[in-house]
């Protein structure tokens, strides 16, 4: 276990940040925290969560995919993947780190592989930070995620206890990071860390949604599925659940596991270059899955239903029980009309008699 005093943490940031891009949660002028690139003078935020999740670094809001330009008879291709440098993200919470795993399953471990995402994953070092003060909106423990980082999470796990930051490497990348920072880190025993882990676990147990029962959601029978899906609109559960939904897409953008995107091309200027860009898309929008004839999901009810079924039923069916929700609570906090997945879980359980 290595450590550094909390009031000296800036020297660690400077050591790392001067050699490669370092990102950490920073307070912005609206009083909330966002991941920002480290530069001299930037202070680590003490907020529990950033407004957007850490998936932004591997699956960015917009990503330049490729540019083509015609030069005589040749076509010049510009591939921005080679421009991605090694970088470090500090202060990722356990929920966000688990979210990476959900996206990895689809973009890295399936065929064809998403080379842009994989490229960034290979270049990124993730340093997780335990959550000293979980809030009532958190329910990561429902999914077996440990906010006290008793289980290895990310490349390096870190804890803040008694005015000191402690670090433990989990992977080779993590070991390399700690070696690079060796000059400012000291050896330490893990007594304070064990005490912190215990106190965090106790706090989590007291949260209102610490243990929602999702055991049966991962393996619903066809009969239960029919009841939950409510195709003939008998129980009207999805109508009631989505009547206030605006279809704004905020939930998909702040969610650590949402990964849909749209690809668009732009012609750049008179030299006829073409630039292909991908950007986040949201299944809540009315033109998602738009086809020539129409959109098969006509109303917000179908779209909301699809999103929650994907996260709680379809994804675990396809990925051995792994849920596409990590209990970070961002959708609870950001939704303009306060719809959220906890309410939906309870509703699904009641409807499917799970």
């Amino acid at each position: 276990m290595l450590s550094i005093a909390a009031d000296k943490i800036d020297s660690l940031f400077e050591l790392i940040g001067s050699k490669q891009p370092l990102y950490l949660p920073v307070d912005n002028n609206s009083g909330k925290a966002d991941f920002k690139k480290w530069e001299k003078g930037v202070k680590l935020s003490s907020a529990l969560k950033t407004v957007r999740s850490a998936k932004d670094f591997f699956f960015p809001k917009t990503e330049h995919m490729v540019s083509y330009k015609v030069c005589g008879k040749e076509i010049e291709v510009e591939d921005p993947r080679k421009d991605v440098e090694d970088f470090v993200i500090f202060g990722v919470r356990a929920c966000d780190a688990k979210g990476f795993e959900c996206i990895d399953n689809v973009y890295m471990h399936m065929n064809p592989q998403d080379s842009y995402y994989t490229n960034r994953r290979e270049h990124g070092t993730v340093i997780t930070l335990a959550c000293n003060e979980p809030v009532k909106e958190c329910f990561c423990s429902t999914y077996g995620i440990d906010a006290s980082l008793a289980k290895a999470s990310g490349d390096v796990s870190s804890w803040c206890a008694d005015g000191t930051f402690y670090f433990a490497a989990n992977t080779d990348k993590g070991k390399k990071f700690l070696e690079a920072a060796a000059s400012v880190l000291k050896d330490a025993d893990d007594k304070a860390v064990e005490a912190t882990k215990k106190s965090i676990s106790e706090k989590i147990e007291k949260l209102p949604f610490a243990h929602l029962d999702i055991s049966k959601l991962g393996k619903v029978t066809p009969e239960q599925m029919n009841k939950i899906f409510d195709k003939d609109n008998k129980t009207k559960i999805w109508e009631k659940a989505s009547e206030a939904c605006l279809g704004c897409g905020t939930c998909t953008y702040v969610c650590p596991t949402c990964m849909c995107f749209d690809v668009r091309d732009f012609a750049t200027g008179t030299d006829k270059g073409i630039r292909q860009v991908r950007c986040w898309d949201s299944c809540m929008y009315n033109d998602f899955t738009q086809m020539a004839a129409e959109n098969p999901r006509h109303t917000q009810k179908e779209r909301s239903r699809q999103r929650f079924m994907h996260k709680l039923v379809y994804y675990p069916m396809a990925h051995e029980g792994l849920f596409s929700c990590v209990g970070c609570g961002r959708c609870l906090e950001s939704c303009p009309v306060n719809m959220n997945i906890v309410k939906v879980i309870k509703m699904i359980q009641e409807a499917g008699e799970l």
Partner: protein, 320 residues
Amino acid sequence: MQDKLIARAKELLAEGKVQKVVGWKKGLFEDDITPAVFTTAEELDKDFVFNKYCKANLSKYLVKITREIEVAKSTTRMNNTMAKQRDPNAEDKPIPQAVVLVFLKPSDTYSFTQLLKENRITRGDVYAIGVPCQDTLDGGDVCENCKNKKPVSCDELIGIEADIEPVESARMAEVAKLEAMTADERDAFWKNEFSRCLRCNACRDICPACTCEKCVFDNNKLYTSQKVAETNFEESLFHIIRAWHVAGRCTDCGECSRVCPQHIPLYLLNRKFIKDINEIYGEYQAGSDMETKPAMLTFNAEGDPETTIVYDRSHDKEAE
């Protein structure tokens, strides 16, 4: 207060005067409120809530609900006409009347009136009850400087007086502060704020003035589509255009800033338009009555100043 409202709603439902109630539904926590439609007394008893977290402006949901009611009416009328053509002795089916009860805080009543003026809501299908704001203060600057304390266009008032003196408010103070910076400083301020914008469109979706069937931002062929912005320009563009489209119709309800997940101070843009309209074309509060035309839909041939007034009114700091 909550019990009074539930009791009144149940009364009106029982008398058959209203068939639906639009109100606020309890959630998992005290501050977790969702707008919802109630149709029975049991639902009201179980889920209706009214507390200081009921900030949501319910007037926009009436657009969809009253349209459903009107469509049901006109479909029945059409079917009756067709039936008569086939058989002159056919009996007319009764036109389904339905009225929806809605609870409106004073600020919401202005959005309601504005929507009535624009013919988006059918007045006969709505029974509006004005209720007081329960000190919803942590709406930040928007609520603190609320000018709209006097309810308008309500059928009934519970817990609030009809005649309230207009309040002096300092709601333009932050706008004036920005006006006093140089153009470059303002540019830096807004680029900083807009860089966080996700293009989630929550501000547009919740705004009572934004009720276009097909929004200009829903068009993927245009460079203004609803997806995430690729460049600075697109981020700013959305906000300039949206503020422009609601100019003169914005009632300053503050919903746009409340729902923004990135807490961008959108109310500053809308208040800037309101300030300009008030100072150049005369005091105007959108939605305060049914007759006055909004500033953008009218003109004063002799009285309107030339565009050079933008220079005369400028409070810019002198740039070095």
